[in-house]
């Protein structure tokens, strides 16, 4: 369609319409309206104030946004709290070399040193001199080799006197808050070990999992008392050493010779209270058995009798630097069905931290009376007898932020006898020196050398150890 005529018509119409407007009468004159007063000019402000105001507004907006976000997160957190948890752990790897065959005992095969046991009808090869746990190589307390030991036969390393690299443990720790006052804690070691799968009767465990801790804790809110109640598999209440069993926590690498009596993780109920402005700590536990460590076969996780073991420790913190503790335990003998067989333990410990110096001294003494049938020459044939005492002194000095040299002296005197099946005569002193290096917050390197010296009639034999540990905290 052609639009040109339409356009022309529109122009015409516009032109004719304008004279008509000019023909209308003129409007009366309008009174002049006073001119409005001009608006005052805004006051001139400080630009910096403006800027601050603007930024304040921005921050207020952001704060409001953050509050909204926080409210949202709090709501989400409340909904997730029952499964909220903290994961942690570490890898502990090392290298060790031992003297001799790696075992801490030797048999008195021909009754050369302790003939009295041959007279009791105990085979000489089953009379063990020395300490089967004197050649520990890591924080778990694993020995390089158990040799021909009969009471302690769990031999996860089985080094046969050879040096070796070793992943001591991969630890996984889990903490979970159950409520405002309740929590649960688990610590598991994954332990990679060799196993001869063709040896169906072998004592090599292969890779295994060691559930070290598994307990629930309740801390009721009390005004003048800090109380903790635990149930499950928890730390020992005896002595001091149990507080630093994990590789990152332990000053050195290996446990003391008396750790076997103090460092177990028993199963039962435990209460801990802090009193008098945290200067007094009381621990009490009722457990299946003793607080012996599991690697030491006198202990057992499950109970075999009805009489439970009651153990406790009372400590006093003097001047915020020196902790004095006394502990004891009494109960039925481990692994015995007869609840009438008793076992007791007492101990004392001192721990001091003065400046960069840290010192710990512990002493223990205990006895499992055992039972002798009288039917054989050998004693303790119905239930094994254990008579022990021991002590250690451990000192560490923080030389720099990185290096902490340390030294320890152990002493142990024990006899463990079980009919004609075995007798262990342990009388020794052990010297340990080492260096701990903390590289950053997650890497710890330790090296340690141990010298065992036999006492009494036990001959000296090669059972010294050099071991190292690289701890990577996860």
């Amino acid at each position: 369609m052609d639009h040109q005529p339409v356009k022309q018509l529109a122009i015409l119409l516009l032109l004719t319409a304008s004279p008509a407007l000019a023909d209308e009468p003129a409007a009366p004159p309008v009174e002049p309206v006073p001119a409005p007063e001009p608006e005052p000019e805004p006051a001139k402000t400080d630009p910096r104030l403006d800027e601050l105001t603007r930024r304040l507004q921005t921050l207020e907006d952001e704060l409001s946004q953050v509050k909204d976000d926080n409210t949202y997160l709090e709501e989400k957190l409340q909904s997730l709290l029952p499964i909220a948890a903290k994961l942690g752990g570490y890898i502990d790897a090392g290298f060790f070399v031992t003297d001799g065959n790696g075992a801490g005992t030797r048999s008195d095969l021909i009754g050369q040193f302790y003939p009295e046991y041959l007279d009791k009808g105990i085979p000489g090869s089953w009379v063990f001199m020395g300490d089967p746990l004197s050649t520990t190589v890591n924080s778990r307390g694993d020995v390089a080799d158990t040799g021909e030991s009969r009471a302690i036969v769990f031999d996860p390393i089985n080094s046969r006197g050879k040096s070796t690299f070793l992943v001591n443990a991969v630890n996984l720790a889990l903490f979970a808050g159950l409520s405002e006052t309740a929590s649960a804690q688990v610590s598991v070691d994954f332990v990679p070990r060799a196993r001869d799968i063709s040896d169906v009767g072998g004592v090599f465990a292969g890779d295994y999992v060691d559930v070290k801790l598994a307990y629930g804790e309740w801390k009721p809110k009390l005004d003048d008392l800090e109380l903790s109640l635990q149930a499950g598999k928890f730390d020992s209440v005896l002595g001091f050493e149990y507080r630093s069993l994990e590789s990152p926590d332990r000053l050195g690498i290996t446990p003391s010779l008396i750790c076997r009596y103090l460092c177990g993780r028993p199963i039962g109920l435990k209460a801990r209270a802090r009193l008098l402005d945290n200067t007094v700590i009381a621990n009490v536990a009722v457990t299946n058995g003793t607080h012996f460590s599991e690697g030491f076969t006198f202990a057992d996780e499950t109970d075999s009798n009805h009489l439970k073991t009651v153990a406790g420790r009372l400590s006093y913190l003097a001047g915020g630097k020196v902790e004095l503790g006394a502990s004891g335990a009494f109960g039925a003998q481990d692994q015995q069905t007869d609840s009438g067989l008793y076992q007791w333990h007492v101990g004392a410990d001192v721990h001091a931290e003065v400046g960069d110096l840290e010192l710990t001294v512990e002493y223990v003494k205990g006895k499992a009376k055992g039972k002798t049938s009288g039917m054989t020459l050998a004693e303790c044939d119905d239930a094994p007898c254990l008579d022990y005492q021991g002590a250690y002194l451990l000192g560490g000095y923080r030389l720099t932020n990185v290096f902490v040299p340390y030294a320890r002296v152990d002493w142990r005197d024990a006899t463990h006898e079980s009919g004609a099946s075995f007798v262990y005569i342990s009388k020794l002193v052990r010297f340990t020196v080492g260096l701990r290096a903390e590289i950053g917050t997650r890497v710890i390197v330790k090296a340690e050398a141990t010298l065992n010296r036999e006492l009494d009639r036990i001959p000296q034999f090669p059972n010294d150890v050099i071991t190292t540990s690289l701890v990577l905290k996860l």
Partner: protein, 546 residues
């Protein structure tokens, strides 16, 4: 070890204190306790024990199958056997000592013949696996339960056992008279054979078909060769006959109505004999056993690889690495030498080692009720009730009641015989420990319940040849035996009965598989050599038609 001892550890740790050196290895002194093969011990109860002539004659006896009787197909509890025996019921089993104690195989019953059985078979099924006769002369007591104190008294006992050769002392006497007369007379001139024991053929010619004697021309019983009992004229020396089982203090009574059965298959033939004739036969019977014992005393296995290793001073590598490790374990960790001690690898004692009474013919105490032939309920040391499953508690009781002991009239040990009445007194035994070649303590030993379930420690020389193992024959291989000990006994009771208390030294050993193999290798190194002239089969006289 050397590197460390040489310096690194010492330098780092204890230059001042020094490092320990390994304790001198005491293994060699322990191994040396198994060295020094002794001479065969003196057997004062057997005057011909060391006689070459007796050994030569005894060897023939050992290989002669004519002393054995017939198949009874019954076990030690007189129960019918559930597996085939050596022969059809009632047929001659034709076995000799060598059948179950093969001198080329350690003198043991290795064959498991008939196959599949673990206890030994003779006329019936034993309750135990046969023990070896090689080196048996060194044992104080004989048999798994120690029921005999000499080789000859053991032979006397088994020769009439229905599960063994199921023979009879009269059969022995007639076979000797018929086939060994000259040799016997030469060896035992002081005990001439009675004239009535002339020959089996002549004897049979004097009998009626019913076994009674033919009467003389006057219709009388010929009293020189026969005698009249209960109106019957019977031979003074029947071809077969043995005493029935009588309790101590009771005398056998002649009762012709006695029915033949497993234990007394020849009726009352023996019990109806004149006492003087019985004594004559008993003398022949014990002399026969003493000749066999003289032969067994020559069955000595030595010069094994272990012996040669010892003679060479236990040089490393000479026995083989595995066997040498096994030797160390034997005297060390495994503590085998606690019981298998000395050059013979035995302690002449009894132990409960955790082997259950298991097997088709191995009795349990519940199968021996009061009043039965095997009776585990009635129990009195003066009245053996034949409780077979309880081992030494039963065997030593039988020894204490034995009529063929070293202090019996059949023994040649005059000193021991003279004090027979004192041997019930333990104080006397304590004051005269060497009397009766050192066996005296056993005669008055208190029969405590500790002995229940204990069995005698076997020697280990030639042990690789003597399977199956344990008194029940429950294990076929040495490895199984070591696994048994490694687990502290009782590997598998298979529904059997474990009697008594396991010895305090039978404990879990924690041996590895390799260590078990090493012990087997060491035990195999104990296989020695028996003089081939001793083991070669002799020429045995032709069979006698009984």
């Amino acid at each position: 070890m050397g590197v460390l001892r040489g310096g690194a550890l010492c330098l780092l740790v204890s230059t001042a204190l020094g490092c320990g050196s390994e304790i001198p290895d005491p293994t060699l002194p322990l191994l040396e306790k198994h060295v020094g093969f002794p001479d065969v011990p003196v057997d004062s109860s057997n005057a011909v024990a060391l006689s070459p002539a007796a050994a030569a004659l005894g060897k023939k006896f050992y290989f002669d199958t004519n002393f054995s009787g017939s198949e009874v197909s019954a076990d030690m509890l007189l129960r019918p056997m559930t597996t085939p025996g050596r022969a059809a019921m009632g047929q001659p089993i034709k076995v000799s000592c060598n059948t179950c104690h093969d001198v080329t195989k350690g003198g043991a019953d290795q064959t498991g013949d008939p196959p599949g059985n673990r206890v030994s078979f003779g006329g019936g099924a034993y309750d135990v696996n046969g023990q070896q006769t090689v080196n048996s002369a060194y044992s104080q007591l004989v048999y798994w339960n120690g029921r005999n104190d000499s080789l000859w008294s053991q032979i006397v006992a088994v020769a009439e056992s229905h599960v063994s050769i199921n023979g009879s002392r009269l059969r022995v006497a007639w076979r000797i008279a018929d086939a060994y007369r000259a040799e016997y007379q030469a060896l035992f001139p002081e005990y001439p054979l009675p004239a009535q024991l002339d020959s089996i053929a002549a004897h049979k010619a004097r009998l009626e078909p019913d076994g009674t004697c033919k009467l003389d021309g006057n219709g009388m019983c010929p009293t020189d060769i026969c005698h009249a009992t209960y109106g019957r004229c019977t031979p003074r020396f029947p071809l077969e006959g043995r005493p029935g089982f009588v309790k101590p203090g009771q005398l056998p009574v002649c009762d012709p109505s006695t029915a033949d059965d497993i234990l007394q298959p020849y009726g009352d033939a023996w019990d109806c004999m004149q006492l003087a004739d019985q004594l004559l036969v008993n003398r022949i019977y014990t002399n026969w056993a003493k000749a066999i014992a003289a032969y067994e005393a020559t069955l000595i296995s030595k010069d094994s690889p272990f012996d040669r290793w010892a003679e060479g001073g236990f040089v490393t590598g000479k026995l083989g690495a595995s066997a040498e490790r096994g030797a160390r374990l034997f005297v060390g960790k495994a503590a085998c030498a606690e019981c298998h001690s000395g050059p013979l690898f035995m302690d002449d004692k009894f132990h409960q080692i955790g082997v259950a009474q298991v097997g088709a013919y191995v009795p349990k105490t519940s199968e021996c009720p009061v009043g039965d032939w095997c009776d585990c309920v009635s129990d009195d040391r003066f009245e053996p009730m034949n409780c077979l499953p309880i081992g030494a508690r039963d065997g030593l009781r039988k020894l204490q009641a034995s009529r063929f002991r070293r202090d019996s009239v059949w023994s040649d040990d005059e000193e021991c015989r003279r004090h027979y009445t004192a041997h019930i007194d333990p104080n006397y035994a304590a004051e005269h420990p060497d009397e009766c070649d050192g066996r005296i303590a056993w005669y008055s030993m208190p029969l405590t319940d500790e002995l229940r379930g204990q069995w005698k420690t076997p020697g280990l020389r030639d042990v690789a040849l003597t399977g199956p193992y344990m008194h029940t024959g429950v294990y076929t291989t040495l490895r199984e035996v070591i696994v048994h000990y490694n687990k502290g006994g009782i590997v598998e009771t298979q529904g059997g009965e474990l009697i008594g208390t396991i010895d305090e030294k039978v404990k879990v050993l924690n041996l590895t598989e390799r260590e078990i193999d090493d012990l087997v290798a060491f035990l195999e190194s104990l296989t020695g050599v028996v003089d081939p002239a001793v083991t070669s089969p002799p020429t045995v006289p032709a069979d006698t038609p009984f």
